[in-house]
């Protein structure tokens, strides 16, 4: 019955297809409703935002390395934000804030999920497009608008928001508190509201597509880990972003209407402000209820991408497929009950701190399951070190070295000296920043032929890009652990001016130079990316000999993804190097009846008829193995 239905569906789309031949430039490249084009839009916008955020970080690193040198060039470039050749202290805070905001939300949330969920969900589950292509298009344009509004804050008189990416009140609630609390903060809030709308529209689409539009045979347990990861990520977003909306609504009323949700007993310029009774801690609760799931929204797609790439390039089934899915589900569930670990030093009841400490440390268990499974997959694999594979392995490395420090921070007592120091900065830049960026880059190298009609990126440049970035990332973030242990606080304009910390100046200079080298290495990526779009080597339809459905779709992009019927799926996506088969991969579309020599009894777990046929075949062909 469902065959008929699926078939009818495709017929109707072929019909649609004819109409789409009249695509104009606008409907094809600008207001496109095709998930593959929207994926490219997200990717290119994401890369642009990443470059901007990276340049911002180089600017503030220069200040940290040379706190008392003047650079007339800065004044030329930044004007009033860098008078007399030195960054304005308040502008330094704005730089840190916008760097964090763009990286966490615009690059690693929208850029990452937006690109790969859009590209891979329909192609890997076998759907012609998203559940609602129109809403999908809106999702991109809201994201684009949010990016423009966020960047426009560099052009207002007082500069961009400056209260940190977590925008704690009172700094964010009192426009007069500092330069970064004025117009820039307002624009930040407007931009984030648009961003949340975009994220919700995207996420709702992804979930609905995965649950409703899988092709025949694609039951949940035959989905690649990428799709599982995107799916759970989208659920996290749907449940947590609205909470930030609630927090931001209250903040807006405090800012502009004089309510006191977050404000109390504030004296400014010697005058007592009329606010009373509010609680700034309330904002932290609302923020981190989103904020912690958000860090998993960032890392889970990268994890899914790496799982897939590691299995393909180790030519081995992913180790512990079910455990990989259950650990993702475990992480997703737990991520909603750990937010208090960001608030250990807010005067929280020590008992509550203990509860959050236990839930936090439990998250280490599913995280470790994933790590061991990646290592076990690589173990004695027939590894192909493509650039994508290297970046995926890089993710594993960063996730381990950054995750270990999470265990320290998760102890409510240890966190007292470590909170708000460079130790935290080191922790999250390794475990989230570097790991997720590496996952995203791995995905770009791996799926480039799917994004850009069958072209490949250059491998040599890819290797260069990987090694320089990998080494520099460690050189930048590893020393920060020691600074943090020594008590160096984060978000300080010139902390080495304090006698207690001035011996860290040389380390700061070293870090800055490592960061500059890392930034330069990205030029090789940008060149590789943009030139390969036009001149890249032509790939075959399935360049990595992978099993998943996207490689069965034609190389050139067509509406509806497949000509004629959508392929049917018969097996899980990880049949690599299956003993008894003549090739080292068996695509999901190959029925078990065509691979008799490699079938195993457990391939027929819920298929008694198939098992019978298999047993008969085994009796005839492999008498020695039949008991």
């Amino acid at each position: 019955m469902s065959t008929v239905a699926v078939h009818d569906h495709s017929v109707s789309h072929d019909h649609d297809h004819e109409h789409h031949h009249h695509d104009t430039f606008i409907t094809k490249y600008v207001f496109s409703q095709d998930h593959k084009m929207i994926a490219k839009q997200f990717l290119i916008t994401g890369i642009t935002m990443a470059v901007i955020a990276m340049l911002l970080s180089i600017l503030f690193r220069i200040q940290l390395a040379y706190p008392d040198k003047t650079f007339p060039l800065l004044t030329t470039l930044l004007g009033r934000f860098a008078p007399n050749g030195r960054l304005d202290p308040e502008f330094y805070l704005s730089l840190v804030t916008i760097h964090g905001t763009i990286m966490v939300f615009f690059v690693l949330t929208a850029g990452l999920s937006g690109t790969f969920s859009n590209l891979l969900i329909p192609l890997q589950v076998g759907a012609r497009d998203m559940a609602s292509p129109f809403v999908n298009m809106l999702s991109y344009w809201f994201f684009f608008g949010a990016s423009i509004v966020m960047l426009s804050s560099f052009f207002v008189q007082k500069g961009p928001a400056g209260a940190g990416w977590t925008i704690y009140p009172p700094l964010s609630a009192l426009p007069k508190a500092m330069k970064g609390s004025e117009m820039g903060m307002t624009l930040w809030l407007i931009s984030m509201v648009m961003f949340i709308a975009s994220s919700l529209m995207g996420g709702i689409n992804y979930v609905s597509t995965v649950l409703n539009m899988r092709t025949k045979g694609m039951d949940l347990w035959k989905m690649p880990l990428t799709v599982w990861a995107f799916f759970l990520t989208a659920i996290l977003g749907i449940l947590s972003f609205p909470v930030l909306v609630a927090g931001v609504v209250l903040l807006i009323f405090d800012r502009s209407f004089g309510t006191s949700f977050y404000l109390s007993d504030i004296v400014m310029n010697g005058k007592l402000l009329p606010y009373s009774g509010g609680s700034p801690i309330l904002f932290q609760h609302l923020f981190w209820f989103l904020g912690h799931p958000e860090v998993y929204i960032v890392i889970m797609p990268a994890m899914g991408i790496s799982s897939e790439i590691i299995a393909v390039n180790a030519r081995k089934p992913i180790f512990g497929y079910h455990a990989m899915v259950y650990s993702l589900i475990g992480i997703s569930t737990l991520s909603f009950i750990v937010w208090g670990h960001h608030m250990f030093v807010t005067g929280m009841n020590p008992f509550l701190g203990g509860v959050f400490m236990i839930t936090t440390l439990i998250i280490a268990v599913p995280s470790a399951v994933k790590t061991f499974n990646w290592i076990a997959t690589i173990w004695r694999g027939n590894i192909r070190f493509t650039p994508a594979m290297l970046f995926a392995i890089g993710l594993v490395s960063f996730f381990i070295s950054g995750g270990v420090t999470g265990i320290f921070l998760g102890n409510s007592a240890l966190d007292i000296p470590l909170h708000d120091t460079y130790f935290v900065v080191a922790h999250f830049h390794l475990v989230m920043g570097s790991a997720a960026i590496f996952g995203m880059l791995a995905g770009v190298y791996h799926w480039f032929p799917k994004l850009f009609a069958g072209r490949l990126m250059d491998e040599k440049l890819g290797y260069f890009h990987f090694w320089v970035t990998f080494i520099c990332a460690y050189l930048v973030f590893f020393p920060m652990h020691f600074m943090g242990l020594d008590g160096v606080p984060r978000r300080y304009y010139a902390m080495t001016e304090f006698p207690a910390f001035n011996h860290w100046l040389s380390v700061n200079t070293f870090i800055t130079w490592a960061a500059i080298v890392a930034a330069l290495a990205q030029v090789s990526f940008l060149y590789n990316f943009f030139s390969s779009i036009f001149f890249g080597k032509r790939a075959t339809q399935n360049p990595w000999n992978a099993n998943t459905l996207e490689w069965t779709a034609p190389m050139e992009h067509i509406h509806g993804n497949w000509r004629g019927d959508i392929p049917t799926v018969y097996r899980w996506p990880y049949d690599y190097s299956k003993p008894g088969h003549d090739e080292d991969f068996i695509p999901q579309t190959v029925p078990l009846s065509e691979t008799m020599s490699s079938n195993l009894p457990h391939d027929f777990e819920d298929n008694p008829a198939g098992l019978e046929i298999y047993n008969e075949w085994a009796k005839a062909n492999r008498p020695s193995e039949v008991k």
Partner: protein
């Protein structure tokens, strides 16, 4: 005959995911209200800022109006399934009118609150929360009214029955959700009156 069947199946296929989109949206909205009420509890619990407001009766009346509007919407859905077009239009219109009355009553509730010297901008933000709850809910009501308008509008266009039914279903999922959320908020406020 065969053609019609295929047609219907296909409609079901392409509309089902869109209906699911609505359900997910409802979950997202629900989280906003869950967050706001949790915020209230953190605020009121943490600092001993009780509400100390006896809610004016008008909120009871508005609750009644909203519940009746859910009933009329249910009747509209039944009429649609039986293809009784005029009844369907009548009940959708009634639902919308009741929705507008609800809107008015809530706004009047705000007026009465200010007469009781309970303001949006005041040091005890527990009280500001009353305005936030009702205000955010009213924003949703506007969205709900728009969905109902689109459902009503479709009945005047020559659209296939499945589309008409689909639009109304989308609107009803949302409207019944708004009804339940308001009851939740109202009971929540009643329980926290002092």
């Amino acid at each position: 005959m065969m053609m019609a069947q295929i047609q219907q199946k296909e409609d079901r296929l392409s509309l089902q995911p869109k209906k699911f989109v609505m359900w997910l949206f409802v979950f997202a909205s629900f989280m906003i209200f869950a967050a706001l009420t949790s915020g209230f509890m953190v605020y009121a619990g943490g600092r001993g800022h009780a509400l100390n407001v006896i809610l004016p009766n008008i909120f009871m009346y508005s609750t009644g109006v909203l519940i009746i509007s859910s009933v009329t919407l249910f009747l509209a859905t039944r009429a649609t399934k039986r293809q009784e077009v005029s009844k369907q239009r009548l009940f959708i219109t009634l639902t919308m009118i009741l929705g507008v009355i609800f809107f008015g009553l809530q706004i009047d509730g705000w007026r009465i609150l200010t007469e009781m010297n309970i303001f949006f901008v005041e040091p005890n933000a527990s009280r500001s929360f009353i305005y936030i709850f009702t205000g955010v809910h009213l924003l949703h009501i506007i969205a709900g009214l728009l969905l109902l308008t689109s459902a009503l509008y479709t009945t005047y266009r020559s659209k296939p029955q499945s589309i008409i039914q689909f639009r109304l279903e989308i609107a009803s999922i949302f409207w019944h959700f708004l009804d339940i959320i308001w009851i939740y908020l109202y009971v929540f406020l009643l329980l926290n009156q002092n």
